[in-house]
């Protein structure tokens, strides 16, 4: 399912956070959004997912523009895993099914299949507090997938993890997307993560958020991550991205807009 953003603008009170942003994501494509911290990336995702209404411009997901339609088509994975501590891992993962009126047992049964697939077998009944950071993040991702929505909006999904777990999770997500392609909008502040996982990476400038450059990844979601990110072509694109990002940060005007 495609996502189309045209002339998007958003402001909180006086503060213009996003300005004239255009972005097209084709169905089945993974797009990375990279920008400095606090540049409105999370707001952008919430707008796409229908959790917020834009002040200007239009967003359509699969051709539908209404917030309720976007909400129904986009699965949002927030920065923190936000697993509910009072539910077991599997009940957290199957929340979307429960919300749609499925019985507890049926919802668990459907989520259980994915548990095995994601290396979480045996941890179905574990409370979130007993899971490692990587496992929690996988349960959170599972929860996003189980919702069965065609578009995934991932907000810094691995930001809270240590470097090694993060690399493992990137490889794992790449595998999951190879097996089952989805339209993904991936927000991150990690250039390498964006370039490894996405087909296209858009560099954003801060406040107001706007696109300053777009880069194509040489080998998106390669099976061997370590080889992919040390490849000369990848390194060249990464350096280019870093350069653009640094420029974007230095010329970024200070927040306020009339």
């Amino acid at each position: 399912m495609s996502v189309s953003i045209r002339g998007l603008g958003h402001s909180y009170a006086e503060l213009q956070t996003i300005e004239r942003l255009d972005l097209e994501v084709e169905a089945g494509q993974v797009i990375g959004l990279v920008g400095p911290s606090g540049c409105g990336k999370s707001t952008l995702l919430e707008l796409v997912c229908g959790l917020l209404e834009p002040s200007e411009g239009a967003i359509s997901v699969g051709g539908a523009g209404a917030a309720t339609e976007r909400l129904a088509r986009c699965a949002y994975m927030p920065q923190r895993d936000l697993l509910l501590p009072w539910y077991s891992a599997i009940d957290n993962a199957s929340l979307a099914l429960r919300n749609r009126g499925l019985g507890k047992l049926e919802a668990r049964e459907r989520a259980a299949e994915l548990f095995e697939h994601f290396g979480l077998a045996g941890f179905e009944q574990a409370p979130p507090a007993e899971l490692s950071g990587g496992m929690r993040q996988r349960v959170a991702f599972l929860r996003t997938l189980v919702s069965g929505k065609p578009v995934l909006a991932l907000d810094e999904p691995f930001a809270s993890l240590d470097a090694i777990t993060r690399a493992e999770m990137q490889e794992w997500l790449a595998g999951a997307l190879r097996d089952e392609p989805r339209t993904v909008i991936l927000v991150t502040h990690d250039v390498e993560e964006a370039l490894y996982l996405s087909d296209r990476t858009v560099i954003l400038a801060a406040r107001p958020t706007r696109a300053v450059a777009e880069l194509r990844s040489p080998a998106p979601r390669a099976a061997d991550r370590d080889a992919a990110v040390t490849d000369a072509a990848f390194v060249a694109v990464r350096e280019e991205a870093m350069h653009t990002l640094r420029q974007a940060m230095s010329v970024a005007p200070l927040g306020r807009n009339a």
Binding site: C74, R80, P85, L95, N99, P127, S147
Partner: protein, 255 residues
């Protein structure tokens, strides 16, 4: 861990034993009665209180049952009304804005002023006692429940919206569980105050109950049994508190 758990019990028990021991010595040497210039029978020793506790056991049990029923039914009313009202105030801001200041202000009215009025209205039966216990317990339960509901993580609520949750599902699956620890705190406060409420209710007019017994014993200078009654009342509060703590451990497993 075990060591720490034992210490938690040992220290207060030792202190209590020491206080009771000092009291026993002070009474049996006649020190207190002399200082206060009282007849010795007006200053019972812990041993005399214990023996009164034993000899009046059936009388105490009978009256304790009356008071316990008032406490439990009053608490139940306060729980239903308090939780229900907190939910209403949480859901509708207008209700909260209109009622919250009044609820807080109503707490400045002392219950022992209300108690005789309620007895005039509802008679000598269980009614006014229930009302007083419920009035006392309503406030901590309502305020803690309202605060607890508001403590739910806004990000989790947003997440639930994107997982197709209805307003009611968000309430049931996120806001209520998030409120539980706070609700239990409120119930613990309520449980401690409930026996005091029952006592006030009985003092305003009753034919049975621990408060009624205290009034009678006070008139007849049965000081030892008065103390025994207080011990029973305190035991009721402690047991109720223990039950609430146990329930909390079973329900709030994630803390």
């Amino acid at each position: 861990m075990r060591n720490k758990g034992t210490t938690r019990w040992v220290l207060p028990t030792l202190l209590l034993a020491a206080l009771i021991g000092a009291w026993q010595i002070a009474v049996s040497t006649g020190a207190i009665a002399e200082t206060l210039d009282l007849e010795p029978f007006l200053v019972p020793s812990p041993a005399e209180i214990a023996s009164s506790l034993w000899s009046s056991r059936s009388l105490l049990a009978e009256n304790a049952w009356v008071t316990l029923r008032e406490i439990l039914l009053g608490l139940a009313c306060a729980l239903i009304a308090g939780l229900g009202f907190a939910a209403l105030m949480y859901r509708w801001v207008t209700i909260r804005l209109a009622t919250y200041p009044l609820i807080v202000a109503s707490q400045t009215i002392p219950v022992f002023v209300l108690a005789p009025i309620l007895v005039v209205w509802f008679g000598y039966g269980i009614g006014p006692k229930l009302a007083i216990v419920a009035l006392i317990c309503f406030f901590p339960i309502t305020v803690s429940a309202l605060g607890g509901l508001g403590s739910a993580d806004p990000a989790a609520i947003k997440l639930m919206r994107s997982l197709d949750a209805s307003r009611w599902q968000i309430f049931r699956r996120v806001e209520v569980p998030a409120a539980l620890p706070s609700i239990f705190t409120g119930v613990k406060i309520a449980v401690v105050f409930a026996p005091i409420g029952a006592l006030f209710g009985e003092w305003a007019g009753s034919s049975a109950g621990l408060g009624h017994l205290i009034l009678q014993d006070s008139a007849q200078l049965e000081v030892a049994r008065e103390f025994a009654t207080v011990v029973v009342l305190a035991a009721i509060a402690l047991v109720l508190m223990g039950l609430v703590v146990l329930a909390e451990r079973r329900v709030v497993t994630w803390r």
